[in-house]
C-alpha cells in the first residue's frame, strides 16, 4: 500500500440477515411461489445470495385478487388522513432500517454503499414522506375537485435502483388510494422483499402491497392481467413498447419511464472543475446504469483538450471495487448479461473508429466489472452515440455554436434528460427551453427529489413520477 492509498473501509454485512430462500408477498403473507425458484447473486462476487420464488401466472392471479380485495374493502374506503399515516410510518421505518436496506441493496445490486447509503435510501424515505402528506390533500393537486383512485396498479421496476424505483411507484399509488402488485427485477428482488417486511411492521392492511418476484414472464402476466387498472413500468424502451402494445385498447392507464441517451453540453465559459465533476457524476453514478445518465458529452470545440485532460485526470482517481467499501466510487455491473451488452457496444465503438480510453484500473477476478471508459472521435452516427449503453461509458462529441449543440443534443429518439454547463444565465434558459428532454440539469446533473417530476419525451416514454404531476398517474382525472 502506497502512502496516499486508501485503507479498506468495508461496511459490515452483519446488519443484514439474508435468508436462504424468499417467498412471494401476497395478501399480507409470505407464500411459496408455484412457478419454481431462481437465484439472486451478488454481482460483485457471483456468490448466490438466496433462492427466490418464481411467480407463475396463477400466483399473479392471486396477488391481483388480493390487491382487488384490499382495494375494495379497505384501502380505497379509508380516509386519506389514515392512509397518509401508514405511509408516514413506512417512511420512518425505512429511516430506522436505512443501514440494513443500504447494505442489502449494495450486495444484491452491486452498487457502492456510498450511493445506497447517501442517495438511494434517503430518497426512498423522502418519497414516502412526500406522498404520505398528499394522501389527504389530493383535491388540492390540480387534478380536479374529487380525484378518485384507479384501482389495482401493476408495477414493474428495473434493477438499477431497485428500492428507489419501488418507492417511486408504491408511494404515490398508495397515497392516491390504489393498491399495488409490484414485480421487482429478476436480479434485484431482495430489498423489495425486505420492504414487504416493513409493510408488515407498519401494520399495513393485508393486500395493499403485494410483491411477486420473477422474470419477464411474470411481469408480462402482471401487465396483461385483466384485473389491473393501471400499469406503471420503468425499464427498457423495447419492453416499454411491448407493454404499450399489450395495454392498447384496454381501460388501463399507462405510464412508462424508458431509456435515454442524454447529452451533457459543456460550453467554453463553464467552470471546468465543476463541469468535470458533473460529467463524472452524470456517467459514472451507479456505474452508468442510469436511464438519464449523461452518456453523450457535447463539449465546445475550443475547450475540448482542456476539458478532456481534466476529465481523464479525474477518471484516474475513481476507485473501482468492493461495493461495500465506503471509499468505492464504481461498483459491479449488475449482471453477466448486462456486462456482455456493455462489452459488445464498446467493441462496436472501437470498430467504428472511435478512440477508447480507460484509466489504469485493476478489475477484481470474480464478479462483473467494467472500467470507466471514455470514447473520443465519436460521430453522431456511431452506435455508441445512438444506443443506450447503460454502463460506465462516455462518448464525446464536439460542437461550435449553441445551435449546433441543440441540434446534436436533440438528434436522438430519446428525450429523458439533458445537462448544460455555462456561466451565462440567458444561455441556460434558452438551452433549457430548446432541449427536448423531460429533465434539464443546468450546472448540475443527476439530481432527484420527490417533489420534482421526472420522466421523458419521445421514446423515453410518457407520464411523470414525482411531485404533484406524479399523482396524476394514479388518479382518475
Amino acid at each position: 500500500m502506497g502512502i496516499f492509498d486508501y485503507a479498506p473501509a468495508p461496511e459490515s454485512r452483519a446488519v443484514v440477515d439474508v435468508k436462504p430462500s424468499y417467498d412471494l408477498f401476497i395478501g399480507g403473507e409470505f407464500v411459496p411461489a408455484t412457478g419454481g425458484v431462481f437465484k439472486s447473486v451478488n454481482p460483485a462476487t457471483e456468490e448466490v445470495l438466496a433462492e427466490i420464488g418464481l411467480a407463475s401466472a396463477a400466483d399473479v392471479d392471486r396477488a391481483v385478487a388480493a390487491a382487488r380485495t384490499a382495494y375494495e374493502r379497505t384501502w380505497s374506503r379509508m380516509p386519506g388522513a389514515e392512509r397518509g399515516k401508514y405511509l408516514f410510518r413506512i417512511a420512518r421505518i425505512i429511516q430506522e432500517r436505512a443501514r440494513e436496506l443500504a447494505v442489502l441493496e449494495s450486495i444484491d445490486n452491486g452498487k457502492p454503499i456510498r450511493e445506497t447509503r447517501d442517495v438511494d435510501v434517503p430518497l426512498v424515505a423522502a418519497h414516502f414522506f412526500h406522498y404520505a402528506g398528499w394522501a389527504d390533500k389530493l383535491e388540492y393537486a390540480g387534478h380536479g375537485p374529487a380525484p378518485r383512485p384507479l384501482g389495482v396498479a401493476a408495477q414493474v421496476i428495473p434493477w438499477n435502483f431497485p428500492l428507489l424505483m419501488l418507492a417511486w411507484k408504491i408511494a404515490p399509488a398508495l397515497a392516491c388510494g390504489n393498491t399495488v402488485v409490484l414485480k421487482p427485477a429478476e436480479t434485484t428482488p431482495l430489498t423489495a422483499l425486505l420492504f414487504a417486511e416493513i409493510c408488515r411492521e407498519a401494520d399495513l392492511p393485508a393486500g395493499v402491497v403485494n410483491i411477486v418476484t420473477g422474470a419477464g414472464e411474470t411481469g408480462a402476466a402482471l401487465v396483461a392481467h385483466p384485473g389491473v387498472d393501471k400499469v406503471a413500468f420503468t425499464g427498457s424502451t423495447a419492453v416499454g413498447r411491448a407493454i404499450a402494445r399489450t395495454v392498447a385498447g384496454t381501460d388501463k392507464k399507462l405510464t412508462l419511464e424508458l431509456g435515454g441517451k442524454a447529452a451533457n453540453i459543456v460550453f467554453d465559459d463553464a467552470p471546468i472543475d465543476q463541469a468535470v465533476e458533473g460529467v463524472i457524476d452524470s456517467i459514472f453514478f451507479n456505474q452508468g446504469q442510469v436511464c438519464c445518465a449523461g452518456s453523450r458529452l457535447l463539449v465546445q470545440e475550443s475547450i475540448q483538450d482542456e476539458l478532456l485532460d481534466a476529465l481523464r485526470r479525474r477518471m484516474a482517481t475513481l476507485r473501482l471495487g468492493d461495493p461495500l467499501d465506503k471509499n468505492t466510487d464504481i461498483g459491479a455491473i449488475n449482471s453477466a448479461e448486462q456486462l456482455a451488452r456493455i462489452t459488445e457496444l464498446t467493441a462496436a465503438g472501437e470498430a467504428e473508429g472511435a478512440e477508447r480510453w480507460s484509466p489504469a484500473c485493476e478489475l477484481p477476478a470474480q464478479g462483473f466489472w467494467f472500467a470507466p471508459t471514455v470514447f473520443t472521435n465519436v460521430s453522431a452516427t456511431h452506435r455508441i452515440a445512438r444506443e443506450e449503453i447503460f454502463g460506465p461509458v462516455l462518448s464525446v462529441l464536439t460542437f461550435r455554436t449553441p445551435d449546433e449543440a441543440v441540434a446534436k443534443a436533440n438528434n436522438t429518439p430519446y428525450g429523458l434528460s439533458a445537462g448544460v454547463w455555462t456561466e451565462k444565465g440567458s444561455r441556460i434558459l434558452s438551452m433549457a427551453k430548446r432541449l427536448r428532454a423531460g429533465v434539464v440539469w443546468a450546472n448540475t446533473f443527476n439530481k432527484f427529489d420527490p417533489a420534482s417530476p421526472f420522466g421523458g419525451y419521445k421514446e423515453s416514454g410518457y407520464g411523470r413520477e414525482g411531485g404533484l404531476q406524479g399523482l396524476e398517474a394514479y388518479l382518475d382525472v
Partner: protein, 324 residues
Amino acid sequence: MSEKTEKTEKTAKTAPKSGKATAPAAAAPKPPAEAPASRLAVRKTYKLFIGGAFPRSESGRSYQVSSADGAFLANAALASRKDARDAVVKARGAVSGWSGATAYLRGQILYRAAEMLEGRREQFVAEVRAVEGGTEAAAAAQVDAAIDRWVWYAGWTDKIGQIRSAANPVSGPFWNVSSPEPTGVVALFAPERPSLLGVVSVLAPAIATGNTAVLVAPDSAALPAISLAEVLATSDLPGGVVNILTGRPAELGKPLADHLDVDGLDLAGITDPGFAVELEQAAAENLKRVLRPSAAPADWSAHPGTLRLTAFLETKTVWHPVGG
C-alpha cells in the same frame, strides 16, 4: 352592426344557398321560379388543406359527399397515404414556429379564427344541416357551441402553463421548476358527429397548447371540416399548424399511427374498436401519446374540461444550483 359585418353575413348566407340549391337540383331539376334561367350555380370543389395551401389529393382521387338524405352535396378530395405523409412533413415544419410563438400571440390567432367562424356562421349552419340532417335550430346550436368552444380554447393558450407548472420545493440548494411543453405533431381523428363541434373539440385543444396537427375528417363530415380549413387559412394561423385531410380513416389511420414523426394520436373518431386497438398498437412503436376513443358514445356537447389540453403535453423540469 357595421356595413362590413352585414356584407359578410350576406355573403355567407348566399354561399350555402348555392350549395343547397345544387342538391335538390341534382335530384329534381326544378329551377326556382325567381331565378333567371341563364344563372347556373357555381359548384364548389373541396380540396385538402396541407401546409396552408389547398391541394387536390396527389392521388387525383375524389369522392362524393352526400347529404343526410343521400343527395349529392359536393365532391371532396380523397386523401391518400402520401397526402398524410406530406401533411406530417408540413406539420413538423411548423412546430418550432408555432410552439415558439408567445402564448399571447397563439391566443390571438385562435381568437381570430373564432371571429372568422362567427362571420361564416350561416354557412356552417347550412353545411352541418346538410351533412347531418335535423333541424336548423339544432345545426345552429352546434355551430354556436363550436364557436364558443374555439373561443374557450383560445383563452387557454396563456393559462395552461400556469395551471400545469410548479416551482418544486426540492430539498437542497437548487432552483427547480416544472412547466408544460407541446409534444409536437399530433394526428387527430375527428368524430363523425357532431360534424363541426367534433372537429373543433379535438383540434382546438391540440393546437392551443402549441402542437401542430394533422386532422382526418371522416368522409361524411368533410364539408364542415374543410370549410373550417378555409376559416383557418384566413386567420393568421401559420401554414402547416393545422392540416386537414378529407378521406377514409380506415386508409389514413395506419400511415399516421405508424409515422415516426408523429408524437400523439387522438382516436376520438375511430368507431371500430378493433381498428382503434390496431392503431394504438402501431403508436407504441415510437411511444406516441394516445387518446383512446371513449367506449360509450362521447357527449361532445358536455363541458370538455382540460383532458384534451393536457393529453398532448410534456412536462419539463429544469434544475439549477442556488449559491453565491
